[in-house]
Structures are given as structure tokens and as C-alpha cells.
Amino acid sequence: MQLDVGAFVNVADQVAQEVANNQLKSQINGQMTTIGVGQGGQEAKNINQNTQTPSTPPIFWEEEGFPDIEYWDNEYADLVQFDPLKVRYDNKYPNHRFLVLHYLGNLGSREDKNNDAMKTNKGNLADRSKQKGNIDRHEVPYASTIEGGKNALTFPASASQNQAHGRALFQFYRKHHFIGGEEFWVPLPKYSQKRIPVPSAQPNLIPRSKPIGGYPGQGIGNLISDFIKWLTGKRIRLPDPIPAPIPSPVPVPIPFPR
């Protein structure tokens, strides 16, 4: 499978464009917060000071709950592992490498990226995953990121995991109040520690993360937010009342020579 490496060069430009657009949009709308590249890392530090350095952007640790998806994301990481813009390493997490992605706020671009990804991958196994119920088409880098699109690869993945992964990603973006252009990392096992391939079409082992219709404690936040919107005509982003816990990775002891 061929990757259009040249197109990746445009990612930095797109990130800058997304951030500039959103800063402008925020000024126009009079929003309270404007989040740019790098600032997301500060948020992540606030949430979990023990595990993340100030320079580390938010990490999507929930990825580890979806072995089928993680496996395919890792396959993609293998292809781009020597590009420091796409895969990073952090001394704090010796067993991990991280896929570097940027949230894409522009919906029109997301549609284009999804279409481009489908076109690039047309005819592959994932594209023929028509018999629904078990198999879904997983796309990496995700359509909701600047890196997605014609450079993305699609893979047949367990439908239940793909859906649940999408829901977890949605919650992750929301928790960090992403607008567009923010960097985040997807943790993956290092090449030497890759997990055994998980066959697709697994039974639904992952329970739905949240019930339809809301989350515990969300009602009060919504009421306040709706009231402020009613008063001012603007939606103010309140932090989620009960932030989802970020599972901390278990550090693996490095043997010390005696």
C-alpha cells in the first residue's frame, strides 16, 4: 500500500490554519477560551500531574480499551514510525510510542477527509465489510484529525469496538474542550511489544461507555450552561462535572545493573 508522504508536509500548515481560524472565530463569538496548539498539554497536566510532563499534550489512554482498533492503529504507526512528526516517544512511558494527531474542527474538511480515505482505500478488505453487525471500517489517522484523509488507511475492525472507540474519542475531545488544531497523542505499544493480532468481528466485549441521553452529573452543568446561553446568547464551555478518569499506565520497572 502506498502512502503519499508529500502530503504530510501540509499538516503543519493546516494546524496553523485551524488554530488561526478558531482564534478568529473565538474573538468574533466572544468565547471565553481559546485553545491553541500546546495549550492542551497544560490541561492534561492539570488533570493528571503525576503522569504527564508539561510538554506532553493530552493522551488518549482510552485507546488501550479497544485492542482491535489499537492493533490497526499500530499497523499504521509501523508505516510512519521513523517520522518524528507522526510518531513520538516519551521517557516516562518506556513501553509506548505515540501517534501524534491534531483535532480537526472543520466539519466540511472532515467529510472531505472521510471521502478521500475511502477513495484511497477503495476495494480493500475493509471496503467490502458490507455485512454489518460484526465488521466496521476503521480509518487511521481518524477523519476527525488533520492527519486523516487521503493518507489514511482503512481496516476491517470489530464494529462494536469501532463504535465504542468513536464514542470514547468524542468524550476525549469534549473533555479537553478541543476547538480545532490541538495536538493529542494516541498511545500504542512499542514495536517490540506489539500485542498478538486480535481477529476482527469479536463479540461485543466492550460495554457502551455512556448511556444514551446523558452522563452522571451532566444535568446541572447543562442547566447552568443553558441558563448562561439564555442570558447572553452564547454557549460557555463548562468543565464536565465528573471528568472521566484517565487510566494511568503502569510503569514497568527497568532492571538496574548491580
Binding site: G105, L107, G108, R110, E111, D112, N114, N115, A117, M118, K119, K122, D127, S129, K130, K132, G133, D136, R137, E139, Y142, A143, S144, A159, N162, Q163, G166, R167, L169, F170, Y173, R174, F178, I179, R208, K210, I212, N222, S225, D226, R235, R237
Partner: protein, 199 residues
């Protein structure tokens, strides 16, 4: 607005002219008894919905039909399968899948008490999963949008590549004009469903 049968005839003509390869992936309608058996199973009584399936019973088995950007019309059998297996427990039970590209699904709102007949988008890549967003005001406006998109060259079928190229900016303008009640074409933040979720 033209009636549904006239609109479906227009769609039929347009697909034959602009996208005949994908058009031939659609299959003939089921006979009346079987049709009504499936309508009963889906618990639907809607003239527009019935007319659509009296035109075609969706894609042939194991075929992908790129009729529009969200895929092709699902057969009634596929629609039931999707509703009962894939979407079960994920979205509200009132939705009936009608169009899919294998990843994104257009859902018909079968809830008579609120926004009945409106079409909603379920999409894993765009992250409209538990909360589908209104995309077309009705089946009629969806067909008008598709027909106009072909005429305005927002959809261009590449016969060599066998791929429907889409101009999302043009489609957005056409869809917004024809679907004034639908949230998807308006400015919104997809992460804040409290502002646009209607169900």
C-alpha cells in the same frame, strides 16, 4: 413542492444519466406482499417511504452503490439487519436506516410525535454516534438535494475510477437551501450536542 412519485422519477432519470454504473447496482422492488411484510416489521406507515421502496429495493446483495455521499439505498432486508444488530442499543429505536456507505448511515425518524420523517446522519468517522444529527428535512428534500447536486455537478461520477467525486462546498450550499430545518448544514460544534440534538 413536487409530490414524492414525481421526485422519485426525476431521481431515476438523473441516476441513469449521470451515474448509470451505480444505478445498475440497485435492484427491482419486492412484490407487494413481501414489501408490506417488511413495512410491518419496521413498524412504518409512511407514503414517501413506501414509494421509495416501490421504486427500488435498495442495493443488490454484496454491492455498494454510490448514489450520494452517504452511500446507496439499503435493501429492506439490510435495513432491518442494521437496525436490529448494528444500531441496537447505540441510537434510539425510532430510527430506520435507509442509506449507508458501510460506515455512515442516514436514518429515517419514525417517531410521529417529533420531527417525523426527518432524516438524521449517524457517522462513526464524523463522531455523530449516539446522537445522530438532522441532515435532511424529509425524504422529499433529500431527493431534491441529490438531484440538484448531480445537476450542479456537486456529484461527478468518474467512470474510469468508478468513484463518485463530491464537492462538499457545493453540496453544503444546495443542502442548506433545501433543508432549512436540519442542523447539520448550520454552524454548530459537533462536540456540543446539547445545542443541536433534537430527539
Amino acid at each position: 413542492m413536487k409530490n414524492i412519485d414525481t421526485l422519485i422519477s426525476e431521481l431515476d432519470e438523473i441516476l441513469k444519466i449521470y451515474n448509470s454504473i451505480e444505478y445498475h447496482k440497485l435492484q427491482s422492488p419486492l412484490n407487494s406482499d413481501v414489501l408490506h411484510f417488511y413495512f410491518n416489521k419496521l413498524n412504518i406507515e409512511n407514503k414517501s417511504f413506501e414509494s421509495l421502496y416501490k421504486w427500488k429495493n435498495g442495493e443488490k446483495e454484496n454491492e455498494y452503490c454510490q448514489m450520494m455521499q452517504y452511500g446507496g439505498l439499503l435493501s429492506l432486508e439490510e435495513s432491518i439487519k442494521l437496525k436490529e444488530n448494528y444500531l441496537e442499543g447505540c441510537v434510539e429505536n425510532i430510527f430506520i436506516p435507509i442509506i449507508s456507505d458501510g460506515e455512515q448511515i442516514l436514518l429515517f425518524n419514525n417517531n410521529r410525535s417529533k420531527n417525523y420523517g426527518r432524516i438524521y446522519l449517524y457517522s462513526v468517522p464524523l463522531l455523530y454516534i449516539e446522537k445522530p444529527i438532522s441532515c435532511f428535512d424529509s425524504l422529499e428534500t433529500m431527493i431534491i438535494t441529490i438531484v440538484e447536486s448531480y445537476k450542479e455537478k456537486a456529484y461527478i461520477y468518474d467512470e474510469k475510477e468508478r468513484w463518485l467525486n463530491i464537492d462538499s462546498e457545493k453540496i453544503k450550499l444546495i443542502a442548506k437551501k433545501n433543508n432549512k430545518k436540519s442542523a447539520y448544514w448550520k454552524e454548530h460544534d459537533p462536540l456540543y450536542w446539547e445545542d443541536w440534538y433534537e430527539i
